[in-house]
């Protein structure tokens, strides 16, 4: 649970610190008096979809932190843990996911610079690389079960399948959003509207890359 607690503590500290900065020295019982200034708007970065994504990422962090905590606790709790061999294909998959992240970053830049063609090309490329990753993970499962590493044989296998499946499911969810964005882009939607979606996709992909590196690292290390 230590990892979960540390991550949750970080989330809480950020959140509580922000609340503190909002509420310190405020006297709520004092009503407005003068009529002099216009309110300054909220910082531009914090649009509702962005905040929504950040909150969602906090939820996903919690899911993976708890799964990883469970992994480590289960590993220590009894002596039946026999590690999974890591098929070499996992490295290739990792590479394609890294590439997907990089490519989406380029697409996002293209969107901000108003380059529609470049955006479309790289956006589609990012999605395809991700599909390659997911298919690659599927092949890894096939290889493992062909080698006799079934889910029920050992908790290490079970966790391997569960964590990779959970991660792949999150990517598939992302791909649904990606598919909608591509469809809109090809349907000729305005660049400004598409840009917001592209940016959310990119941030989500970066996040899932970090999660994957954490999961992969854990599997390699144990």
């Amino acid at each position: 649970m230590t990892i979960t607690l540390i991550l949750l503590a970080l989330i809480m500290v950020t959140f509580v610190g922000w609340l503190f900065s909002q509420s310190i020295n405020v006297k709520p019982w004092v009503a407005e008096t003068g009529k002099t200034q216009l309110p300054s708007p909220v910082p531009h970065f914090f649009t509702a979809p962005r905040v929504g994504l950040m909150v969602f990422l906090a939820v996903v962090t919690s899911v993976f932190a708890l799964s990883i905590s469970a992994y480590m606790m289960r590993m220590e709790m009894s002596g039946d843990w026999r590690s999974v061999p890591e098929p070499g294909l996992l490295w290739l998959n990792t590479a394609s996911l890294v590439l997907a992240s990089v490519v989406l970053q380029i697409a996002w830049r293209a969107a901000t610079h108003g380059n529609r063609q470049r955006l479309q090309r790289f956006l589609i490329m990012g999605g395809v690389l991700t599909i390659v990753f997911v298919l690659g993970q599927f092949v890894v499962w096939q290889q493992l079960s062909a080698g006799g590493y079934y889910m029920a044989t050992n908790p290490a296998n079970a966790f391997f399948y569960m964590l990779t499946a959970l991660h792949a499911l999150h990517l598939l969810g992302g791909l649904a959003a990606w598919g909608r964005t591509v469809a809109r882009l090809r349907g000729g939607a305005g660049l400004a509207r598409v840009r917001a979606s592209v940016e959310l996709c990119t941030l989500y992909w970066h996040f899932l890359l970090v999660v994957w590196i954490a999961v992969f690292g854990l599997i390699l290390a144990t």
Binding site: W29, G34, L66, M73, M77, A158
Partner: protein, 586 residues
């Protein structure tokens, strides 16, 4: 939107909300069923949660019949008794209280109280309700499949939850776990909305420190739920794999029906950690909205500003944060390291401090207030009594040495029903009496309300107070029948019969409440826009009930906190939040 000038002073810049495009459907289905209006979704949540809650109420009466008058109802056998225990607990905690507070009150009140047109993501909000409904239907399906619903207890502890011999092990447990996973997915969609709406869609001038405490309570509870429900999700997924694919996450090597099961090394303790990592915050997920709502009820009906607003806000935040580090106090009897137990006993007792601050502040708000003994106020005061009672027995149970002998007795049942069943339910009733006029435009009947309050309040004491005594005698919980023992005295049976009779009376009183809801909808006195002379924004809408979009042409601008009651020098004893200082009548 007209640009109105006002001083932002040293405050944080108030959110300048943009006008949002709303979907305005024309058909009946679009308006009332497949609706994106948070208020309609709130009512959908409310009706669904109440309906499933009534099922759980019936289950509790069936349990009480068996305990009070053993073997008088042939329908109830040991297996079905365990199934009732399980379903009653799970439905009440997750599908009624969580859904009603966050999905029901959250959806109705957050946009109105923050001065928003609707939730930040209305479409997602709508899906959230339908996913919740699906989870309820999956849960209910458990009653009708062969073998019935699961009888594992609401904590679903492995290994017994998925071991042959436990009721519902064939299908019931699978449906329960799937239903929970679906509920969590639906809740996450709703929860994102509640959080983002509070953060992003507040109207001008509505700084964080001008939010009504109701919004603070619901907001913090949602943040906690978003972080805590994943623990239940992970636990449910892992147990599903254990049950369906034969993995050994939680299942230890064991003899089952005389044979060694094909498992090894799994850890039931791991499940307990995950479950309670969700389970304890869950208590506060239910309690914090109640705290918030009760603060507003007390301030409004005592015509006085809430005592220590900033303290109240920070108490909510601190309770929320602390509730993540007390989970193992549910596991004192699991054989943990005594130092570990000591650590968790300490954090548990520390959480009593902000909670006590809140209780004192409510009492100090009442102190010398102009108390109107309206039905909502009665329920709010009833909550104070019940909550303090339940909270004090919680201090007993928070200590390892006291908890060990009392764990698994009726003392615990009495404690948690007082603190997290009756107390929040009283607030829910108070809140319904308080906001019903805004939702329907008509007042609920006062006489029926008074009868409902007194029967419910005194009745619940008649139910749960004796349970503490039964528990002190060591009577175990979850048992279908006690058989011959040396330690249970004969009078326990008489007490149990009395508790059952009280429970039936309280349950009947709820029918009176439902009748009142239905009758007043058609025949109730017209309430007008602001029958309680309250200050918060939901009472200042141009239409009652508020239409889609909430505030007519222009969003309100907020000039003050929500507790300007009985301000010296003002003509009326309340100043709504959207009244600028120069327009206050003196």
């Amino acid at each position: 939107m007209g640009e109105r000038e006002y001083d932002a002073g040293s405050y944080v810049p108030p959110a300048e909300v943009e006008e949002m495009e709303l979907v305005h459907p024309k058909t009946f289905i679009g308006k009332y069923i497949w609706s994106q209006d948070a208020k309609v979704i709130a009512i959908q949540y409310g009706i669904t949660a109440t309906a499933i809650g009534l099922v759980a109420l019936v289950l509790s009466i069936l349990m009480r019949l068996q305990l009070g008058f053993p073997n008088s109802v042939s329908l109830i056998d040991p297996s079905s008794y365990l199934q009732y225990v399980t379903m009653h607990g799970m439905i009440m905690v997750v599908y009624l209280l969580t859904a009603l507070f966050l999905g029901g009150f959250g959806n109705y009140l957050i946009p109105l109280m923050c001065g928003a047109r609707d939730m930040a993501f209305p479409y997602l909000n709508m899906i959230s309700y339908w996913v919740y409904l699906a989870s309820v239907l999956i849960l209910v399906a458990g009653f009708f499949i062969p073998g019935g619903s699961t009888g594992a207890g609401w904590t679903l502890y492995p290994p017994q939850a998925i071991n042959p011999g436990t009721p519902g092990v064939d299908g019931g447990i699978i449906l329960m776990l799937v239903s929970l996973a679906v509920f969590i997915i639906g809740f996450t969609m709703g929860g994102l909305n509640y959080v983002v709406t509070v953060l992003q869609a507040r109207t001008r001038g509505m700084t964080l420190m001008r939010l009504p405490l109701t919004v603070w309570g619901i907001f913090m509870a949602t943040v906690m739920a978003l972080l805590a429900f994943p623990a239940l999700l992970v636990a449910a997924l892992m147990m599903l794999l254990d049950r369906l694919l034969g993995t050994s996450f939680f299942m230890p090597e064991m003899l089952s029906m005389g044979e060694t099961a094909q498992r090894e090394g799994g850890s039931p303790l791991l499940f307990q950690h995950l479950f309670w990592f969700f389970g304890h915050p869950e208590v506060y997920i239910v309690a914090l909205p109640a705290f918030g709502i009760v603060s507003d009820l007390i301030a409004t009906h005592a015509r006085k500003n809430i005592f220590g607003y900033r303290m109240m806000v920070w108490a909510i935040i601190i309770i929320g944060a602390l509730s993540f580090v007390v989970w193992a106090h549910h596991m004192y009897v699991s054989g943990m390291n005594p130092y570990f137990g000591f650590l968790f006993a300490t954090t548990t007792l520390i959480i009593a401090v902000p909670t006590a601050i809140k209780v004192y502040n409510w009492i100090l708000t009442l102190w010398r207030g102009n108390i109107h003994m309206t039905v909502p106020m009665l329920f709010a005061i009833g909550f104070l009594f019940t909550f303090v009672n339940g909270g004090l027995s919680g201090l007993f149970l928070g200590n390892v040495t006291v908890d060990v002998p009392l764990s698994d007795t009726y003392f615990v049942v009495g404690h948690f029903h007082m603190v997290m069943a009756v107390a929040p339910i009283l607030v829910i009733f108070g809140a319904i009496y308080h906001w019903y006029p805004k939702i329907t435009g008509r007042m609920l009947n006062d006489t029926l309300g008074m009868i409902h309050f007194w029967v419910t309040f005194l009745g619940t004491y008649a139910i749960y107070y004796p349970m503490h005594f039964i528990g002190l005698e060591g009577v175990p919980r979850r048992y279908f029948a006690y058989g011959e023992t040396t330690f249970i005295s004969d009078s326990v049976q008489a007490l149990n019969a009395a508790i059952t009779i009280a429970a039936i009376i309280v349950a009947l009183a709820q029918l009176l409440f439902l009748f009142n809801l239905a009758w007043s909808y058609f025949r109730g006195r017209e309430s007008g826009p602001n029958p309680w002379h309250a200050t918060t924004l939901e009472w200042q809408t141009p239409h009652t009930p508020p239409r889609h979009g909430n505030f007519g042409e222009e969003l309100p601008v907020v000039y003050r906190w929500p507790y300007d009651y009985s301000v010296p020098g003002a003509k009326h004893d309340f100043i709504p939040q959207n009244v600028p200082p120069e327009e206050v009548e003196r």
